[in-house]
Symmetry: C2
Subunit: 402 residues, 2 copies
């Protein structure tokens, strides 16, 4: 696998991104991805019981055999917009199908932005001709910009793998930056994390889905900005077979190589989402080891990642490990004082009942990346999640946002 410095579209894909009028800020707000060749899709969605209209329509469209295009707007979530929201999403698909002269059933859709506002369908309709005209092989950056909301930078990643002797490209693009605690399931979930991954690999549709579900578990399903699972979280993966590799039809070496590349792209994008978390000043890695089973490990790691008391301590660079203990216990996980170990970066602050205070108090204050290692010494399972500190800037962003 080769990580590409320049983010490129895989063969046969075009993209574009424009400002059409959804956002008051006049930043780009409408994006399009298009495959020149027949293409298949996989997808995972939020587990939130409330799902955006766009997402419901997307889940339904994903059942079709072929998917040639994805249209995405930012600035309006098209969520809690009733039957009109469903109609609006279908109308947008209809306008695009006409413009591109492709079947409606081959179009996927996603939205992000404010919940409960009617979609400005006419504004989007008026933007579609320009959006379509601007489709081009170097359009990924414009697309990546068009899906951002409170993000402060574009999130893209490309890798090259070899399937047989054919080079295959996997490129991903994502947006964060708040309401980020994805719990992605097959055709069941949504949040305001949007991710689109494109590949020219030739692969069977069911295996594409399997690879995606596997890749999201240790990437997007292992990050949390604010413990708030959105109504719009969507990860879509398109594969158009343009690389000409021998089609992957079973879980062989080629499938493993594809999974490796896909996992890298998902992990890289999930990291950039945390790097750009709303208001954050520090990135935090929480590794829980020695858990009884994987569920316990992930529950413990998420409990710490989602504790406001822990996150505010991290903001202050305050090594208050007691809040880690309290968070794990509050999640219903037994903690044995004589077995537990806790480290901040490489300093073991609590070692099986013994406290070893941090002498250099500035250490966590100046650190921009804090690794917290928690060993329950109660089993052999582990889990790693990423989060950020909770800052006054996060409050400012979300008190004002509307």
């Amino acid at each position: 696998m080769k990580i590409l410095n320049k983010t490129i579209l895989p063969q046969g894909f075009l993209a574009s991104g424009i400002y059409c009028g959804v956002k008051r800020s006049k930043r780009k707000d409408l994006g399009l991805i298009y495959s020149e060749f027949a293409s298949i899709a996989a997808g995972v969605f939020t587990s939130n019981e409330v799902k955006a209209a766009s997402l419901k329509v997307c889940i339904s469209q994903l059942k079709n055999k072929e998917s040639k295009a994805i249209i995405v707007n930012s600035g309006n979530a098209n969520c809690f917009t009733g039957k009109k929201g469903i109609k609006d999403a279908n109308s947008i698909i209809g306008f695009l199908a006409e413009e591109l002269n492709i079947a409606k059933k081959s179009i996927l859709i996603a939205s992000t932005g404010i919940i409960g506002k009617p979609m400005p369908v006419d504004v989007i309709k008026n933007g579609i001709p320009k959006l379509s005209q601007e489709l081009n092989k170097d359009g990924l950056k414009n697309f990546a910009d068009s899906i951002l909301t409170t993000d402060t930078f574009r999130k893209v990643c490309s890798v090259k793998i070899n399937i047989g002797n054919k080079p295959v490209i996997i490129s991903g693009v994502a947006k964060g930056a708040g309401m980020i605690y994805p719990h992605l399931e097959k055709a069941q979930k949504h949040a305001t994390m949007l991710v689109f991954i494109l590949t020219d690999a030739a692969i069977k549709k069911s295996l594409l889905q399997t690879a995606l579900e596997y890749a999201v578990e240790n990437s997007f399903n292992s990050i949390s900005v604010d413990a708030c699972t959105s109504t719009n979280d969507t990860v879509l993966l398109l594969a158009n077979a343009a690389a000409g590799n021998k089609t992957i039809v079973k879980k062989n070496k080629d499938f493993a190589e594809f999974c490796k590349g896909l996992s890298y792209v998902c992990q890289s994008l999930s990291q950039t989402i945390i790097d750009d978390a709303e208001g954050a000043s520090k990135k935090i890695e929480i590794l829980v080891q020695g858990a009884k089973n994987e569920k316990e490990a992930k529950t413990a790691a998420n409990a710490v990642a989602n504790s406001d008391l822990f996150k505010t301590a991290m903001f202050g660079g305050n090594p208050n490990w007691g809040r880690i203990v309290a968070a794990i216990g509050a999640a219903g996980i037994p903690v044995d004082e004589d077995k537990l170990e806790i480290s901040f970066n490489s300093h073991k602050i609590f070692n099986k009942g013994k406290i070893n205070p941090l002498k250099n108090k500035k250490l966590l204050v100046v650190s921009k990346f804090i690794k917290v290692n928690i060993n329950l010494n109660n089993g052999s399972s582990e889990s790693k999640v990423y989060t950020c500190d909770l800052t006054p800037e996060y409050i400012k962003i979300n008190a004002e946002y509307n």
Copy 2:
């Protein structure tokens, strides 16, 4: 029932509170309650799997037939302090037993403060003689002050009820103000909320426990400051029969009257904890109605109360009802757009699919008490919880606290 303007100790109780040296701030840090007569106790404790040493000792002491005194320190939680923590709590009980010349088994203990620091036993031992000498009938205020940590004011409440023709007093005292999301159970839980309730009623020990468990459910178990359940939460209730009423031995009218008075005290104290929540600028009442069952109602109410996105919106007076919907859905509760109603104070902002924006945008900005009413219209159960907004001041307090 009569709510007393002046907080008094019930007959036969004495209290005191002093500074002995646990806190660096030199504020009062050691408190004592003492009953001159034989007295029985009930208690509920945090459900956190991690329990403070003081709390473990208290749970064990509570099994004894008689409880004559409660000693409480603030500034050190005596939590995650291993076997030494247990030994320290027992030593403190031993010193007090000697000083007061009462049985060790009649002494209860509670602690609040920083987790993971060894108890300064000698400092407390040296304070005990003065603490004991200062016991008096007007000592409740000093006691109430001695248990505070980040609280900004003393929390007390007294009511007078009649059992038969005998006046009975129920007085309570509490502390907050962060790591507040109590889940109190019979002899199973802890957090950093401490509550001590005293009554001169004559009542059977098992009924005292039943009354307490009933009273905490809609009071302390229905508040959240920061969704963090502490390792030290303790509610203790002492009854010394000094009122001379006919002993309550069954669930009759007298028991109902006692429950009513006790519930009032618990609700009043839980409200003052929210009034003094760390950094809060607004108090928020969340009433969920029309739920399928009580569990669903409470899950929905807590999901909203614990959503950082909702709480930051409230800080800004931003009526972002979409975050309410997202929080309920993320908790796994289905929401029907055509049935749901949401009100801020008395303004119905979402009514069964129709959005009715708040015209006076200043309304929530200036409001210090916001009532959020959510009707799922999906059943007949309801639940009410209290929380507060999330503010930069909360972050400041908890980033620095150590």
